[in-house]
Every structure is written in C-alpha cells, then in structure tokens.
Amino acid sequence: MLLAKTGVPAASDLAKVIPSEERLKKGAVAIIECFQSIPCNPCQFACPRGAIKEFADINDIPKIDFDLCDGCGTCISKCPGLAIFVVDATYGAEEALVKIPYEFLPLPAKGDRVAGLNREGKEVCEAEVVRVQSAKGLDKTPIIWLSVPKDYMMEVRHIRLKGGAVS
C-alpha cells in the first residue's frame, strides 16, 4: 500500500471516502480520510446528527452517512488524527469551501490569503481564509474555513501562511 510507505493517501484510498458528485451538489459534507484499522473511536461519538455510523468494534474504520451529514464540522476537532475535513462545493460559482483542522500558531485571520497545500505539503493554489473557529470548546484544535478554487477542493488539506511564518 502506497499510503503506508509515504503517508500520502492514494487516489484509490480517496475514491472510497469522497462523496458522489450528486451529494456534493447538495451542499457541505464531511470527508473522513482515515484508512487504517486503529484502536480509536472518538469520531463515532462526535456527530450530533448521528451521521458517523456506530462502530461494532473500536478498531473499525469510520463510515459516514452522507445523507445525514450536513457538514457542520463538529467532528473535525474531535479527531486526534486530524483526518476529518468538510467540503462545500456549493459555496460559490468558482469557489468551494474547505474546512480544515489547524493546530499551528500564529493562526491566520479572516481575509488572509494563504498557500493551499495538498496532502504532500505542496502548494497547489491560493486560498482565502473566510473564518477562523477557535472556541474553547474545540479543545484547542481550531478549524479554518477556506475558500479555494473548485478544482482544488479535493486537494487542499493544509495551509501555509504567507509572510515568512513557518507552516
């Protein structure tokens, strides 16, 4: 498995967790990029709408019911693997909204233009920060809302601030 050698999920891994075109057209939805059976289960208790299916076993791989998920993003900061993202393909005509967990300081500010990085850490586009969620209840994992060109909504999973700050 490529992922196990490089840490970068392969297209075949992603194909299993990305919602259908049809679902994407309906609005925001969570994507769980967690592909390995590990003894971890906080996500299954995280969703207020019950969209993350109950595990039979703590080692189960999370499964999400895209019809129940409304992309609220509550689950993002409950995942210790930082493996949950929300994508809203209906955000704008040219832009999609991507919500990512981000645990680095300084935090970006609303309106900042940042580098959108893919799963290998390579810059693929520019992104605009539209909101920074960092309430105390999120237990220290802030969520950054990004507006990115639609072509990159399934690519951008991290950011780099411009102006010298590291990561």
Binding site: G7, P9, P39, N41, I58, N59, P80, L117, G121
Partner: protein
C-alpha cells in the same frame, strides 16, 4: 534504631499505569503509597500535547497533558487516602521485601506488603558513527525540552523512526516552529498510525521508508547526517547516500520496559521483541514470578497509555484482593479484561497479541 516505615501497597511509578493502580487499590480499601522520581505525577503523559487515541472511556481525544489532572482528582477524591511521595526514586530492593528510596540525596526505606512496579519504559539507542555528538537526542528528551521546558532543541531536525513517537514528536517540532528535514524509517512501511503520518506529510515533511542513517558528522556538535536506502534485507544500498544539513538528530527507534527493580528482585524475564525486549513474566493478574510483586503499563510490555491504565486497574485490583480487599473482584476484573481485549482486538493490536501469546501462552488476548 528507627522503626521501619510500612505500607500495605507500594506503587512505584506515577504514570497512567501507576496512577490507575493506586486509585483502584485505594477504592478497594487498601492503604497505598505512590512513589515517583519526578516532581509531578503523570509520567509520559505530561509531555503529550497531542490529542489521544484510544477508546473514549480511556480519555481518547483528550490531550495527554490533561489526563493526569483527571486521575489526580480521582486519587484525591478517595474514599481512602493515598500517600504520594514525589521526587523520590526507588533505587533498590532487598530480599526481605524492603525497598530503598532516595530523595534529595537522602536514603529512606519502606516495607510494603505488596508492590506494583509501573516504572514505564526507556528509549533505545541506535549505533552509528557520530551518535555521541551533541545534537543527537532521544525523542523523549526532545519532547521534554519542548513541552515541559519550552526550549527548542535546534533549527533543522532529522527524525529517525516513523513509529507513533517519531511521527508525533515530528509534529510537535513543527508546531514549535522547528523544521523537520525528513523522517526516515528502516522498515519498508510506516510503523505509526497513518493518520499521524498524513498529518506531518501535508505539513511538508517527507517520510522515507527503507532508509537509514549511515553516520552523523560535525566538529563540536551535529552539522549533518548521511542517510541511505536499504534493500529488502535491510542492507545499505551502495550509491544511495544522501547528505543532509541539520543540527539535530532525533532518535525514535523504540522503547524497552524499564524493569531494573524487577531484575533486582529476581523476577523471571522473557525476551519478547513485540513487547519491547526483555519483559517480566507475569500472569493474567499482572502478578510476576514473585507473588507479592505486580507489574503494569509499559514496564510490563511497551504499549500505550490506554492499555497502561487498564493494566494498572487490574494490578491494583488483584494486589488489593490479595490483601483481603476483594470487593466485587470478579465483575470488576471481567470489565477491565474486556476493555483490554477490545483495545487489542484490531490490526494495530496484533503485535501486542502475538507478544502476549509468547509471554503468557495465548491464554486470552486480554491477559
């Protein structure tokens, strides 16, 4: 001569395993003394600024650093009282059951009726030319520097080892604003959880599997390292050497149980690589080959905090029961065993299951 201090149960080590042992034994009614060489309780957890994995019941998705305070609260809530001795290192064990402790350069003794050893694990070293240069650190030392003292170990780091510790410490280095040049791993696959690997990858850190460090160089301290690729037999492939400029090499190549006290006491050990090397032989009650000595947590086999806590509960439960405090013994034991079993049931737990089968002969995955 001063009369010898006594206690019913001495718990050595105040990490997650020791804390859970002390709480459980206290709740059962035993009189407990908890000893740790550090100035604060919590063991490895006080360095873990990341959110925890594991089951929600075992504090998953709470950050490691926040777990000790919850356990300490339970410890203080009672109903019984646990005597806590911090800054106190247990340095010896005598045949008559007396333990020798050192605090502020003064030796004291204690005579417990039962002992639970929960001393955790020690980091392994890796032999390579230059590994004695300043700038070569163990991952534990790097974590302590950063997360306990707020000191950056350097500017550019090479991480050796892509197990969970190597991946997590790399992430914490990035959070501290330190550049991680690469993570190298001798095995053909990443050993840690892939979600952790993905996390550092998207922050721009390359991970090279089948890759090892050949040497470190530098005049007074580390200035660089030579890495190379390995073939299927883990032998260096000539011509694949690459020189990296960096000032820190961080070794995260594994842990082995810290069981000097158990060796001293004469407990039987067995070599089980899946559990980190030599591990004390024990039964499903966490009891060693010396009946009044119990063991729990990483000292019993390197695993993780969630399992350390449950093993601690089991050790505390059975040590207390052997002192006559056996309230609800069977049902509590069954609950804890089931929790352990679940934790170890998946793919990630298979190594531990294999190790335990070698150690206690496949009795049950939970034992």
């Amino acid at each position: 001569m001063k009369s010898l201090r006594k206690t019913e149960l001495a718990v050595i080590g105040g990490g997650p395993a020791g804390l859970s042992s002390a709480i459980t034994a206290m709740r059962q009614g035993a009189e407990v003394t908890l000893i740790d060489r550090d100035p604060v309780l919590g063991g490895q957890l006080i360095k873990q600024t990341h959110m925890f994995f594991g089951s929600k019941d075992q504090f998953a998705s709470i950050r490691g650093i926040d777990i000790p305070s919850e356990l300490i609260k339970a410890l203080e809530e009672g109903p019984g009282k646990v005597k806590v001795e911090l800054g106190t290192t247990v340095i010896g064990y005598y045949d008559d059951g007396v333990i020798l402790m050192e605090k502020d350069n003064r030796a004291t003794t204690l005579l417990p009726q039962r002992i639970i050893v929960a001393t955790g694990a020690a980091e392994k070293m890796l032999p390579f030319p230059g590994n004695d240069l300043p700038g070569v650190y163990g991952a534990g030392a790097v974590q302590t520097l950063m997360n306990v003292y707020g000191i950056k170990p350097g500017k550019r780091v090479l991480m050796v080892g892509a197990g969970n510790i190597g991946l997590i410490v790399s992430y914490q280095l990035l959070q501290a604003g330190v550049e991680v040049v690469a993570i190298i791993e001798a095995a053909p696959h990443i050993g840690g959880y892939l979600v952790h690997a993905s996390k550092v990858r998207r922050a721009g850190v390359p991970i090279y599997t089948s890759c090892s460090i050949k040497e470190a160089f530098g005049r007074e301290s580390v200035e660089g390292a030579v890495i190379c690729r390995l073939d299927e037999n883990w032998q260096p492939l000539p011509g694949t050497e690459k020189t990296l400029e960096l000032d820190v090499i961080c070794l995260a190549v594994g842990l082995s149980p810290l069981t000097e006290l158990l060796w001293q006491a004469g407990c039987k050990h067995k070599y089980v690589p899946e559990l980190g090397g030599y591990v004390p032989v024990r039964n499903e009650k966490m009891q060693t080959s010396i009946p009044y000595i119990y063991v729990a947590g990483d000292a019993a086999g390197v695993e993780e905090a969630s399992s350390a806590m449950i093993e601690g509960k089991l050790a505390g439960l059975f040590a207390a029961a052997s002192l006559g405090y056996d309230h609800d013994l069977e049902s509590l034991a069954a609950t804890y065993r089931k929790e352990l079993e679940e934790l170890r049931s998946g793919e990630a737990g298979s190594k531990i299951r294999q190790g335990l089968a070698k150690l206690i002969g496949g009795v049950s995955v939970a034992s």
